[in-house]
Every structure is written in C-alpha cells, then in structure tokens.
C-alpha cells in the first residue's frame, strides 16, 4: 500500500512528500478500509448464513427486504439500534458497558495482519500468526467481564462455560498451527502464503514444480490433519454449532448475553460474526494458500513490489483483484462449510465439548507436531543435522518419503485416538449411573 501511495503522490503527481507522511496516509487508508469492511462483512455474513441454512432446510430464507433480501441486515441493524438498552441496577455499570467493546476490539485488531492479496497486508509483522492468536484471546476477558458484571448467576455460569470453551480450544488451534510453523520455519503470515506456491507440492520442497499457486498445505498429510484439527477448534472458538453452548437457548438461559439488549447485544453478535470471518480467513490463508491461485504469482511478478520498483501498476491492480477474489472465495467457502455443519449437527454438552477438546484434539495435534518434525527432517535436513541417509535422494523422492511416513503416522494416530475416545465416552455414559446411585443414596 505504501508503495502504491508513494508512486501516486511522489512519482505521478510529483509532490515529494516525506516518507512518514506517505506511511501515515497509507495506514489511514488501510484502517478506513478495514473499518468499513469489517461491519460490512458481518452484515453480509448474517444474510449469507440465513439464506444458506434456509436452503438446506428446503426453504428460501429472507427475501423480502430488498432484492433477494439484500437489505435484511440493514433492517436487523435498525432493529438492534432502536431497542431499549436495559442495564440491571445491580450490575456493575462500567464493566457492563465496556465488556462488549472488549470483546469486539480484538477482532478489529486481527484484521491488521491479514493479507488480502499479494502485498496487500496492512502490517507486515514477522510474528503475524502469534499476534493473531494472542489478540484473539483477549476477547475471552471481555466475555468474563460480561458475565460477571451482569450480576445474574445464570449469566455468570454461562460466561464461565464460554470462557472455558474458548480457552480450551485455543490450545489445539495453536498446536495445529505450530505444525505448519515447523514446516515453514516462520511465524509470518505473508511468508506462510509465499510458501504455498507450486502444484500440489510446494516449490520450497521440490523446486522443479511449476508455480501455479496450488502448493497448498492441505495437500500434505501434516497439513490435512492440522486443517481438520484447526477447523474444529475454530468452530469452537467462534462458538458455532456443534459448540454453541454459550448461545443455546434450550439450556438454562441465554448465557453471558442474558442481560444485554439493544446495541450492546448487537456488538456481541458483530464480534461473533467478525471472529468467524477471521477464522475462516486464517484457515484459507494457512491451509489453502490465501490469495495463492493460478495466475496471481505470475501477475505479481510484474507488478510494483519492493523487489521490483519498475513494475507496471496495472499488474498490481490485476494481481490484487485476482488475489482478493481467490481469498474471498475460499473464505466464504469455509463459512459455507461452517453453516453446513450448523445445519447438520446437534450440539455437544459442555462436558462432552471439553472432553473432545482435551482428550481428542490435543493428542491429535501433538501427534501432528511429531509428524511435522519428521516431515521437516525428511525434506530439509541433511548430514549436518544428523540425517545422512536422505542426503543423496532427489527432492521428489524425499518429498514422497515424507508424504508416506506422515500419512501412515497421521492416519494411524487418528483411528487409534478415535477408538479410545469413543470408548471413553461410552464409559462416561455408564458412569452416570454410578453417579446416579451415589446421589440417590445420599439424597
């Protein structure tokens, strides 16, 4: 962005402003765009979800307000804005007021490190991934604030459950990404995307592969298992079915959002949809290449970049448009999968949810890290690191060996863990009878 701004202001118009001004203008434009895009995404996603889930249920979904219901989210927004804002007198007023902001603000921060296209990242941090997940954990604090400040025991219980869920599922999310970080050796999101050029095999692993932008991590066993684990953890982070206990209305009450009405409730809602968008975005970035796709790499190579300041700005635009198109397609595709899962599955109980996260996903992701290490060893290490026997093999053979070993390991681990988990859940159901006896004997 800064390069484009620099080009426009200094070169085309020739005004010669100082670099800090260019940087400031660049950042302001990006921030304005993001603040415009984020709520817009949330509005669009609510409509998208309602229409998609309606079609899964043999019905149509909102189509009255505007063509195909396009203005339905606006109507919802008007409704939320005009509702009376009720705050219980016993509630802690300040905390009650700030809690929605604390939940929403981190989600806006997370946009800062998300690359939309080649060279189109607001802040190119070399710790982008860490920043992303660190910031997302802050919203758990906001949830706790909301539950506590409501001075409603059901809200408190609901908030505690929600926080427990979010915190528990952060771990498998991060661990699965850790496997990818091991493979790439970098925490920078931009670097992760750049790694995924190629054709089913990343060019970084086997240099002779043509760069069609399809060398995604999903095509390797490590990436595939990491994707499964990450997506499930993302469902839980974003409080989507089957992990939507916090917003379940068939439980005691509406959880931590009980005492909120009007726009504050709207903010919680907004935060949830924005977070889901971001999680879908990060899934598509890390496992499906983000803006990588056929054509983008080639276009970008001829655009204005830090390594190629003499490029044509047309290519910037084209590469950007195509990149954004790929990125958004993948993101909305994942959101469709989230809606699809919502339509198909029931909800897990809180204890089942915690069991699933701690007793199934975390061991799975730990095994995946082990696989990732094997992958790195077989594809990248040499005699200097202790693996002399792979030194003489061609890159393709090394890749194939890594593929085979990790595939066997991951598949075996998955089936083994699935069996153990299923058995433990069965026992759990029976254990309830013991509890039952115990309680009825005591009571």
């Amino acid at each position: 962005m800064q390069d484009v701004v620099n080009q426009v202001i200094n070169t085309s118009f020739g005004w010669g402003w100082p670099s800090w001004a260019i940087a400031l203008i660049g950042y302001l434009i990006v921030a304005a765009l993001l603040f415009g895009i984020a709520p817009f995404q949330m509005l669009f996603l609510t409509l998208y979800e309602r229409r998609a889930i309606a079609r899964m249920q043999d019905r149509i979904g909102p189509n009255r307000v505007g063509p195909e219901g396009m203005f339905q989210p606006l109507a919802d927004g008007v409704k939320i804005f005009t509702k009376e804002d009720i705050v219980p007198t016993a509630a802690d007023q300040w905390v009650h007021f700030i809690a929605p902001c604390v939940v929403v603000a981190p989600t806006m921060f997370m946009f800062a490190v998300l690359p939309w296209g080649p060279g189109m990242v607001p802040v190119d941090m070399n710790l982008g991934l860490l920043f992303f997940f660190a910031i997302s954990s802050v919203s758990a604090v906001g949830l706790m604030m909301a539950g506590w400040a409501s001075s409603n025991k059901f809200a408190l219980v609901g908030a505690m459950r929600a926080v427990a869920q979010m915190v528990s599922y952060e771990i498998p999310a991060v661990l699965s990404l850790l496997a990818i970080v091991l493979v790439t050796g970098s925490l920078s999101i931009v670097e992760l995307i750049n790694y995924q050029g190629g054709l089913f095999i990343s060019t970084r692993d086997v240099a002779s592969v043509p760069d069609w932008g399809l060398g995604w991590f999903i095509f390797s066993p490590v990436g595939f298992l990491a994707f499964i684990a990450f997506f499930i953890a993302a469902l839980a982070e974003g409080e989507r079915t089957p992990f939507d206990i916090p917003e379940a209305d068939s439980e005691i009450v509406a959880g931590y959002m009980t005492e909120y009405s009007g726009m504050k409730f709207g903010l919680f809602y907004l935060a949830q949809y924005v977070l889901n968008f971001l999680l879908c975005a990060i899934t598509s970035i890390i496992f499906f290449g983000g803006w990588q796709g056929p054509g983008v790499g080639w276009l970008y190579a001829q655009a204005i970049t830090p390594v190629n300041p003499q490029g044509g700005w047309v290519f910037n635009v084209l590469a950007g448009v195509l990149g954004v198109f790929y990125f958004l397609t993948k993101t909305y595709g994942f959101f469709f999968v989230m809606v699809w899962i919502r339509g198909a599955y029931a909800r897990l109980r809180i204890d089942q949810l915690m069991d699933f996260g701690w007793k199934f996903l975390i061991p799975l992701t730990l095994v995946n890290i082990f696989s990732a290490a094997i992958w790195v060893g077989l594809t990248k290490w040499g005699a200097a690191d202790g693996l002399a026997f792979v030194e003489g093999w061609s890159p393709l053979v090394r890749w194939a060996a890594a593929f085979g070993v990790t595939l066997a390991l991951n598949l075996g681990a998955y089936l083994f863990l699935a069996r153990i988990f299923a058995q433990s859940q069965d026992e759990r159901a029976r254990q309830d009878d013991d509890v039952l006896e115990q309680l009825t004997n005591v009571a």
């Binding site: 019905r59 599955y345 299923a422």
Partner: protein
C-alpha cells in the same frame, strides 16, 4: 403382553454397537444436508419428492383450498329469486358446540304465525371453532362453510356477524365448492320452493337485494289491488272454505258425511266402529283394521294381509294392537249392529288427528272397496 401373531412380530432395534465410530456418521449427515441444499434450487411441487424448496411465497402465491375446507359459516341465498334458504329451524343453533349461533325466526306480522325464514342470524366469528356441524345438520343446506382465513382485525366487535354480513349468493358458494353444492342442489332448491310459498310479503328475501325487494313489494301491492276487487265480485256465500277452523262436532259430521258417501258409493258396508274409546293412533289403526275385518267377514277373498298404506313400525305395533281390539269389537258389532251415529260420537277430539284419520280411513275404505269389487 403382546402376542406374536401370524400378522407380525416384535423387532428389537439394533443399536449397532461395536462399530468404530470415527466420523463416518458425521460425514453422512453432511452429505444428506448437502443434497438438500443442492436440490433446493428447484421447487418441490409433488408429494413424491423430498428435495426442493417447499415454500409457497404467501401472499403472492396462495395455495388453492380444497372444496371440503371449512372456516367460518355463511348463509346462502338464491341468486334468481333472491330468497335466503334459511328457514330458522334452529338445528344449527342446537348443535353448535360453543353455542355461537343466535337465530330469531321470522313471524308473519299479520297473523303472528311463524314463517320459515330468519329475521336475524348472529354468529360470533371470534368464538366459532369452524367444526362444521352447523353445515352438516342443516336440513335446508342453507348454512355452509366458507373458505376465508384472512380474518384478522383489531376490532373484536366487528367479528360478531349478522345476517346481512353472513349472506352469500349460491353462485359464490359454487365458486368455492362446486362439487359439494352439486350433491345437494336438487333437494335444497325443492325445499326452497316450499319455503318461498309459505313466506308472505318480502320476508325471506336477502336484505341486500333491494331491487328484488322493491319488485316483490310492487308485485304484492298489485296483487292486493286486484284481489279485493275480485273478492268483492265473487259471492261471499259458501263459507265452508277449508281455511276456517272446524269445531269438533262439525268435523265429526263431515267425517260421517264422507263415510256415508263412501258407503253409498261402494259395496263396502259401514266400517264397524270400535265402541270403546281409543287413542288417536289406535283409532286410526282400529278403523283400518275394522275395515279389513268387515271385508273378511263378508267372506270375500281376504284383503291383502298388509295395510295398503305403509305404516311406520310404531304405527304397525299400534295397528296390530288395534286390529286385535277391533276384531273383538267387530265380533261384538256383528252381534249388535252399530249405527254410524254412535261411531261419530267416539271420534277423537283432536282436530288434526281426526282429519288425518278421516283421510286415511277414506283411503282405506276406497281401497277396500276396490278390492271388494275385484273379488
């Protein structure tokens, strides 16, 4: 407990334990939902399909209601004559479970007699359960179930419907339920003609058909203008018009006269009268039986065992009893000939029953006479 019959058995449901559940069920579920999503871009318009959008976009599209659909009763009136079919018989008011129908039957303003029409007919739509009983029991097919369902209103009092609001033309009803009307049309129209004959003045015309009412009033006025003139012309003699009420003695005399006339005409002797006082039903049957007995005594071939007029079961029993009594009486009568006069004294006092008895006796005597002639 349930026994195992040859018609079926008891199946214990298979819980499918022991299969490794590693997510295949979840994927299957996703597949089912995907099929529905993909199929929802077509419309589901046939009962045999399970995929497709099942939505009917009301209010632009409306489903057609079947003929039998019932929601809220309405009253019918004939398009041609303008007469309402309702006679105010109270059957619907009686059967209505929540008792929301309130009828006021019409009265002839001149004579004060009840007329087969209704002056006011109220149905409380807000309490009506649309059970359809009123339409089922109506003997005149005048109250029928409408098909309206868009009745929401903020004014609850407006849901108390009066006759003017309940009236619908028969063409409206054939528009919504042609088959149901076709089944009952013939009988309903016939009964309507009967009702029209007994409705004086403009009673029974639907209040909204002001032209028809005006026309009828003119018609009646013209007839009234012509009638007094005609009445003045014809001789006021012969007051023996059947409209006048007869006193019991006059009736008995009439009866005797008719019998005498019959006796003189035919070969049948004066029917033997039972000297004991009988109830009207018994008297009827007695007379009939007496005629038969008389014929039998004549020695001619016995009259057909069964009565020439079809009697209802109750009447048949009474007839049999009376026949036995009459047979005894006939035997007694044979011993002592009874004059027609004494028979007259024992005639029943009830005017209508007497007339009916007279008619029946006359018919029976005629028939017996014919049979007697045929022998």
């Amino acid at each position: 407990m349930t026994t195992e019959t040859q018609h079926g058995s008891v199946i214990v449901m298979d819980r499918r334990r022991g299969k490794l559940r590693a997510g295949q069920g979840l994927l299957q579920g996703l597949r089912v939902v995907w099929d529905h999503w993909a199929g929802s871009f077509r419309k589901n318009d046939n009962f045999s399909k399970i995929h497709g959008t099942f939505t009917v976009e009301y209010p632009e599209e409306r489903l057609p209601m079947p003929q039998a659909y019932r929601n809220m009763p309405v009253l019918l009136f004939d398009d041609e004559s303008g007469h309402e079919l309702c006679t105010g018989c109270y059957q619907c008011q009686r059967i209505c479970p929540p008792q929301v129908i309130h009828i006021t039957q019409a009265k002839d303003p001149v004579t004060g007699k009840m007329v087969p029409a209704a002056t006011e007919f109220i149905i409380e739509y807000d309490a009506c359960m649309s059970c359809g009983f009123c339409a089922e029991v109506c003997p005149f097919d005048s109250i029928k179930m409408d098909h309206v369902y868009e009745l929401s209103t903020a004014n609850r009092a407006a849901l108390t419907m009066r006759k003017a609001q309940l009236n619908r033309s028969i063409s409206y009803y054939t528009g919504i339920a042609p088959g149901l009307w076709a089944e009952v049309q013939a009988g309903a129209m016939k009964k309507l003609q009967g009702s029209i004959k007994r409705r004086p003045d403009v009673i029974g015309l639907a209040a909204s058909l002001t032209e028809k009412i005006k026309a009828r009033r003119l018609e009646l006025a013209a007839a009234a203008a012509a009638a007094p003139a005609a009445a003045a012309v014809s001789a006021p003699a012969a007051p023996a018009a059947p409209a006048a009420k007869l006193t019991p003695e006059e009736k008995a005399a009439k009866l005797a006269a008719m019998k005498a006339a019959n006796a003189n005409k035919g070969a049948a002797p004066a029917p033997a009268e039972a000297p004991v006082a009988l109830s009207p039903a018994d008297a009827k049957a007695a007379k009939l039986a007496a005629i038969k007995a008389a014929n039998a005594n004549k020695g001619a071939a016995p009259a057909p065992a069964e009565a020439p007029v079809a009697l209802s079961p109750a009447d048949a029993k009474a007839a049999k009893l009376a026949a036995i009594k009459a047979a005894n009486a006939a035997k007694q009568a044979e011993a002592a000939p009874v004059s027609v006069e004494t028979a007259v004294a024992t005639a029943p006092l009830d005017a209508k029953a007497a007339r009916l008895a007279a008619i029946k006796a006359a018919n029976a005597a005629k028939l017996a006479a014919e049979q007697g002639n045929n022998e």
